[in-house]
Structures are given as structure tokens and as C-alpha cells.
């Protein structure tokens, strides 16, 4: 029977860069996995900054030049999240104050090739937490 729950150790590759943007801020996110995955395999993606959950409706996921609302992520089966290619989360609204911010990112996804019953797959956990600094006057 295939592995049902996989947590690899590339956590430090996940939360890469936090910066202010023209309309809010952006977070670059790498993948904690040994291969890439179609982003449609992501079943849960949540973001919290400084202990506060960011409303899903404020987030746009940028992958391969496409912009997806969180609810659209499971539909995007043609978009591949390569293991060396970070995605970018755009969070609309107020920019962040310069200085350190604690980021909690939750990401759980199907292991797309590990099916052990119709529609039932192994899972991997690509979540990570880190403190990232927003630079003074940083913008994208």
C-alpha cells in the first residue's frame, strides 16, 4: 500500500521572499517535494501572517504567468508547479510594515501517482513557517 502521508525536509525552500507590491504584498513559495506537481493536486492552501489568517478572497496564485483564485487552483490541471519553480501569492489590500513578519503557509496536496482506491490518493504536506523581512520601500 502506498504511503498515505509524506512530509519531506525541504521546508527551507518553501517561503522564499516577502515584499510589498503596488496593491498589497507578494510571497514567493517553493515546493517541499521531490518532484513537481500539477497545481490542481493542491487540496488545501492557507496563509497566515503574524498569526492572522489571510482571507482566501484576498489571494491570487500566480503560476506560469496565470493568475488563479484559491478556489480555481483544483481546476488548473494543466499548470505544473515545478520543483525548482516557485509560485507567487499576491495578497491584495494593505502593504506590510517594513521589518520581520511571521508567515505560516499550509499546503496539502495529493500525490497524484499514488492512488490506492478510485479517487483516494496518498498525500504530501508542503506546509512551512518562517519569519521573513519586508524591506523598507520594498515593492515587488
Amino acid at each position: 500500500m502506498p504511503t498515505k502521508f509524506m512530509k519531506l525536509g525541504f521546508d527551507e525552500q518553501v517561503l522564499r521572499r516577502l515584499a510589498n507590491d503596488s496593491d498589497g504584498y507578494v510571497l514567493d513559495v517553493g515546493l517541499n517535494y521531490y518532484r513537481g506537481t500539477p497545481i490542481s493536486a493542491v487540496e488545501r492552501m492557507e496563509l497566515s501572517v503574524d498569526g492572522e489568517r489571510v482571507d482566501d478572497d484576498r489571494i491570487l496564485v500566480e503560476i506560469n504567468g496565470k493568475f488563479l483564485r484559491l478556489k480555481q487552483v483544483p481546476l488548473a490541471f494543466t499548470e505544473y508547479w515545478g520543483v525548482k519553480t516557485p509560485i507567487r501569492l499576491h495578497v491584495t489590500g494593505e502593504p506590510l510594515a517594513a521589518g520581520p513578519h511571521h508567515v505560516d503557509f499550509v499546503c496539502e496536496a495529493r500525490v497524484v501517482y499514488m492512488q490506492f482506491a478510485p479517487g483516494v490518493y496518498g498525500m504530501f504536506d508542503a506546509s512551512a513557517s518562517a519569519t521573513l523581512a519586508v524591506a523598507e520601500n520594498s515593492e515587488n
Binding site: 498515505k4 502521508f5 493536486a41
Partner: protein, 333 residues
Amino acid sequence: MATINGIEQGISCYSYTQEFIENDDWSINTIFEHVAAKGVSKVELVGAQTFQQYPTPRPEEIDAVLAAGAKHGVEVFSYGGYVDLGRITGYRMSREDILSDIRLDIMTARSLGAKYLRATGFEPELAPAVNDLAERYGVQIGFEIHAPHTPADATTRGFMETIEKNQLGCFGLVPDFGMFIERPTEIAINRYVGLGAKRETLDWIIANRHNGMTEEEMQEHVAKNMGGGEGEKVAISEWFGYLSFAPAELDSFAAMVPYVKYVHGKFYHLELDADGKVFEPTIPYEKALSILADGGFQGAFISEYEGHAFYLNDADEQLDRHLALGKSILESL
């Protein structure tokens, strides 16, 4: 690498998973450079890892592999594919969907100049249709038999019977030596301890892995009755899955040898004994390799280090040890 008793050693690029992922400046060119420095010219390349677009890599990604191969004298001997059955949320892939994905992998293998596609993700009844595709495109298919499968289980037998019955010329098997692992490596155990597992609970799980409990029953028992947490949860999951272990089914391996296209020399961590001699403490390598050679296997033996599970950043050293171990065993046969 020299061919010894008809067997040539190669390396799976997957062995460098940790280095490839953790270092932004590592590319397939970097990996080929390391492989070539060992005198190895045949590699397996895993598409879903190497390429940043899969199952259809961008043309420039293919070109980069070909350029690196030409530069370092390295040949993509085999291309590792997948069938990503769960790619479309809520959709069950049809037989035709699966064959289409395999065809895409075959096309990539051809673009890379690979003779073999290492395939997974379908049942024996699809083998004749996959064989037809392989014949059409001039590529050989090796279906990977990987832990927790064994040489004697129903799936492996099903593939052998299908190959025999249909006289499939372009379809065979790729045994992964990880299926002969008899006990977890100490390093793996320490990793779970690092994740918070208690050593005595892990020892209990190892001792009871084959006591008849299902994975679900053991997860529940360890969590509820033994205070198990995250470390124990991951250990059980992996020990029932891709790091499964059991007494090696070597007797039945002999019957599988005639169907072997090439071999994955999977290993977890090679140690040195007091005399500085390399040994694999968890997989009976000498016996498994001798069965392969006695069965008349001629072809590639691909070293595949599963080191990324342990984060030791030591792929080069471990691959050197594995190549030395393989050479020493092959020369002694």
C-alpha cells in the same frame, strides 16, 4: 563505466534530489558533470523532477539535457515517467487517458534519445497496448516493480504472465532493489526521532510491522494507546509505503530475471566496516546481484540513492560507495 559480466553500471539522476532542490544553481548540467566525473556514462532521468513542465517538457528543457549530455559524454539511457492519475480533480482517468500520458512520456524519451522508458501507474492488462505504443515509437518499456511490491506478488506475476501470454517484445520489468529491504536504516529511524518519535515506539512498530495490523489499525493504536505523534505517524506511513521492509523474497526473484529490462540499484545508506569495506546493512546486495547474473541478465544496473529522505547531502560519497560495491560484487561472480 566498464561492463562486468555483461552488466554496466549507471546512475539515476534522482540520487541528487537533495542537491538539485536545495541549490538554485544546480541544473541537469551540474548533475551530469558529477556523474561523468565518476566515469559513468549512462543515466536515468526522472521527468517530473528534472523538468519544470511535465508531462510535456518545454523544448528548451529537452535541449538543455541534450547539450549537457553532449558536453559531459553522458547518455540518457532511461527516462522515468509517471501516470499522474490524480491530476484532474474529481476525474477518473480512462484507459485511453492513461495510454495518452504514456505516449507523451514515450515521445519525451525519444526526444532525449533514451532507449528505455521506466513506466508505472497501470495494471498488467494494459501492458499489451503499452507494448504496441513502444513498438510503434521504437522505445523499450520497463515497468518498475517497487516496494511494497515483491517479485512474487500478484501484480508482478500478472505482468510476467501477460508478457509471456502475449509475447511482448518491447515490454519488461525494472526491479527496484528497495523491494529487498529487510529492516529500516538507522538513519531513517533517527529521522523519525528527529520528528519527535520515541525510539521504543519505533522499535515496537518495526517488531510488529507484519503482525497482521493494517496501516490504519497501527496508526490508530500507536496514536491512541502509545502516545504517538507526528514522528510515529510518518514512520508508519512510510514503513507501510515506499520504505516498506520484510524478509527479502530472493527465491522468487530468479523467476523474474528473464523479464528484466534493466535494474534500479536502490540503496538507502552504505556503511564502511572496520576494514573500510563497503556494505549495505539493510539490503542483501550480494545475493540479489548474484541471482541476477546467474539468471543471465545482461544490461544496465542503475545506482539510485534514496538519500533525500535523510538530508545528509552526501550523494557523491554514497554513489561512489555504491559503484564500488557493485563493481566488487560483479567482479567476484
